[in-house]
């Protein structure tokens, strides 16, 4: 059966170039980059070349790049590393974050609040389009704010957040605070050198842009005081212990290089598909586009179907060869109620019928045409069988 892949936001197809670039570091002797001999030096060179590329992808200095095992670890390090350091010299530590952050950020903050009475979290509202409410942010910021974390674009809806506005407010009201942005979802689409320019720390991961899983980075734009979550051998300037995975870093570097090179062409082409999908979906009974008025990533089309269940849509789409998702991916494989849609005030009867279609560099016109045909027939079949209760 032909497969139509519309789940790039969960994981993008691995690029052949990435596999080729990683191959030399996955066979035979690969030196520990912390060592002193020839093999170690070779590994170290590859690692530092990778660091240069990752730094330039976000417009930071190489010394600011901390390689991590993926985006979740990167976000966790940003949140926990800054908050832990802040706690050492302050009586109270407040973390300000949006209600629509990825669980990598939400849960890191949740753990800190659970374990430390001196750590508090303030959650900033989004509007009905999923865009951060800057007035709500203004209310949340204070002198004791240690960290402000707002994602670059949302992983479920693709809604782009006003990072310039965030940075200005933080500079005005909490000048001592560190800013962080989870740019994992935005990385395939936006030029992070521009959009994250006013933010201190940026999280990215490789497998959303054609690289390997378990590979990502936290990039510091300035010398942020950060406590290692996992100390150890002093690697990554003492900010992340453990032998650095050279292959993973090289894979990430190759992926960011390809992404940056192709970004304009891919954006232009996929934005066209996005318009076609939105137009086509608008003709389907009971379908509404999420956040139609907000600026969204070109690759994401998020819709809800009144009265239908995501589980059933996904089942029949899967049978038709379409890979899609309800919300973000989760470990059990079951769709769970989306905190993002909840924060946007989407009615539960709509949120239960959520569908995220996410595209990428290799998405083709054929994919889009096939998707519209299959989805239209799936929805009309479910409508004919009687709506789910």
């Amino acid at each position: 059966m032909t497969q139509y892949y519309f789940d790039h936001a969960a994981s993008a197809p691995r690029r052949d170039e990435v596999a080729d670039a990683m191959a030399p570091f996955q066979h035979g002797v690969v030196g520990n980059p912390s060592g002193t001999h020839r093999a170690a030096r070779d590994a170290r060179r590859a690692l530092e070349e990778a660091r240069d590329e990752v730094a330039s992808f976000v417009g930071a200095k190489p010394a600011g790049v901390i390689f991590t095992a993926g985006g979740t670890e990167s976000c966790h390090l940003a949140v926990t590393g800054v908050a832990s350091h802040h706690r050492r010299t302050h009586a109270t530590t407040t973390v300000v974050l949006s209600k629509v952050e990825h669980h990598a950020v939400l849960d890191a903050v949740g753990l800190l609040g659970r374990d430390h009475a001196d750590v508090a979290a303030r959650y900033v509202d989004v509007d009905a389009e999923g865009v951060l409410d800057l007035d709500s942010l203004r209310d949340a910021l204070g002198a004791d704010t240690a960290l402000v974390s707002v994602m670059t674009a949302n992983n479920e809806t693709g809604v782009v957040q006003p990072l310039d506005g965030v940075a200005s407010l933080v500079a005005e009201l909490s000048p001592g605070a560190v800013t962080h942005t989870d740019a994992v979802a935005a990385a395939p689409w936006l030029d992070l050198r521009d959009v994250t320019a006013p933010i201190d720390m940026v999280s990215i991961c490789a497998h959303k842009i054609g690289g390997p899983v378990n590979s990502g980075a936290l990039i510091l734009r300035r010398d942020v005081a950060l406590e290692a979550v996992v100390p150890g051998g002093g690697q990554e300037r003492g900010r992340r212990g453990g032998t650095v995975d050279v292959a993973a870093a090289v894979g990430l570097a190759c992926a960011v290089r390809l992404t940056a090179k192709e970004r304009d062409e891919v954006n232009e082409r996929v934005a066209r598909y996005q318009r076609q999908l939105c137009d086509g979906l608008a003709t389907i009974d009971g379908c509404s586009l999420t956040a139609p008025g907000a600026r969204r990533l070109a690759g994401t089309v998020h819709v809800t179907f009144e009265g239908l269940a995501s589980d059933e849509l996904l089942f029949l789409l899967d049978q038709g060869g379409v890979c899609a998702a309800a919300a973000s991916s989760c470990s059990s494989g079951a769709g769970v109620a989306s905190h993002v849609l909840d924060a946007m005030g989407v009615a539960p009867s709509r949120a239960r019928g959520a569908l995220r279609l996410s595209m990428g560099a290799e998405t083709s016109q054929d994919d889009v045409d096939a998707l519209l045909v299959i989805l239209t027939s799936v929805v009309s079949r479910l409508r004919a069988e009687g709506a789910a209760r």
Binding site: A309, D311, E312, L314, F315, L316, D318, S331, S332, G333, A334, G335, V336, A337, P348, R352, R381, L382, E385, G386, A388, R389
Partner: protein
């Protein structure tokens, strides 16, 4: 046939899926995600989802997870809590089977184009004269026909219960033969949303205020101590009640949350020969039974079968008279009615009326 197998992650449903695959059906496995809170037992935890998925992979079939947490909360957990708050004892497993598995899942299976749904229950479906009847499983000790008591013809016609003809030991042997990793997994015993390590009381306490009550002999007025949780005292139970001064055991005869009072009595004082049924809850598998029909009844998942007669006043009142007086059945429990002839066919079920 296109068959959807409800896979809980346990050995019974794993073998169910394996046998149907061997029989040549197009099988898809589905695990229901029912409970989002803490759990360490029961049939649908995250570990069980993992087991079900791995079994499906080993059998080479597709596996999906269906999220019914909202519906489970609304139709099973909330009524369970509300029932206890009123001094009733609803059976959450029977409600889950009835409302989630055999209502929502069946409807979904139909919508998704399946010809049949299979589960790993120990019970059998007997096709006779164009109709389908639920019969006890071959393994007496494991029979689960009780929890399927509310099924009706339209569901039975679509239901496959391939392990209902087998003994549990045979199921485990089949699992081993099929190379399924769940072959030696212990049977689930507990309510899935209640942590075995913390118990029913801790769960209820997290949801409602619990009521302490005095325990009093209904006949003599003798005080027999007290309980911290009247909501957990069930009519007919002996556990938690101290023996009276005469050294004889006492059984719970009546629980009043409002009066903070648990009345107890000697076994011969509390036994009853009549069970009043909630007519609105009464469900017959096929045609309704008439007044004065001899039936066999079962009042809990592994309870004893008793001979009884079903009565109907022709209007809204339904009740059972027992051949032998027995410990009373708590309000909110379900009674499953079996026909007296062989094989033992389920005729219907109803909830015991509360006062």
């Amino acid at each position: 046939m296109n068959v959807l197998v409800a896979m809980s992650g346990g050995v019974d449903s794993s073998v169910t899926a394996g046998l149907l695959v061997e029989q040549g059906h197009d099988v898809v496995g589905a695990t229901l995600k029912l409970w989002g809170g803490a759990s360490d037992s029961g049939c649908c935890s995250v570990g069980d989802v993992d087991d079900a998925r791995r079994v499906a992979q080993m059998l080479g079939i597709d596996h999906h997870v269906f999220n019914y947490t909202e519906e489970f909360e609304r139709r099973v957990v909330e009524p369970f809590v509300a029932g206890h708050a009123r001094g009733r004892s609803p059976n959450p497993c029977i409600e889950c089977n009835r409302h989630i598995k055999f209502d929502l899942l069946f409807e979904r299976a139909r919508r998704l184009g399946f010809d049949a749904v299979a589960t790993g229950h120990h019970a059998r479906v007997l096709a006779r004269g164009g109709q389908h009847f639920l019969v006890r499983g071959a393994d007496d000790a494991k029979d689960q026909s009780y929890v399927l008591g509310y099924l009706r013809e339209e569901q039975l016609a679509m239901l496959l219960l391939p392990i209902g003809t087998m003994q549990k030991s045979e199921v485990r042997a089949e699992a081993a033969r099929l190379g399924l990793r769940t072959w030696d997994k212990p049977d689930s015993q507990d309510v899935c949303f209640i942590e075995a390590s913390k118990g029913r009381e801790a769960f209820l306490r997290s949801r409602i205020a619990l009521t302490p009550a005095a325990i009093v002999d209904a006949t003599t007025g003798e005080s027999l101590g007290s309980t911290e949780v009247a909501e957990l005292m069930t009519v007919g139970q002996r556990r938690g009640v101290a023996p009276a001064r005469d050294g004889e055991r006492r059984y719970v005869a009546r629980v009043s949350i409002a009066e903070r009072r648990v009345e107890v009595g000697r076994l011969e004082e509390i036994v009853k020969s009549r069970i009043d049924l909630d007519g609105d809850s009464l469900s017959f598998s096929h045609e309704a039974l008439g007044d004065a029909t001899a039936v066999l009844i079962q009042c809990s998942a592994h309870g004893r079968t008793q001979a009884a007669t079903l009565h109907h006043d022709g209007a809204r009142k339904w009740w059972l008279t027992l051949a032998q007086p027995a410990r009373p059945v708590a309000a909110g429990q379900s009674v499953v009615l079996y026909r007296g002839d062989e094989p033992t066919i389920v005729a219907g079920a109803a909830i015991v009326l509360g006062r």
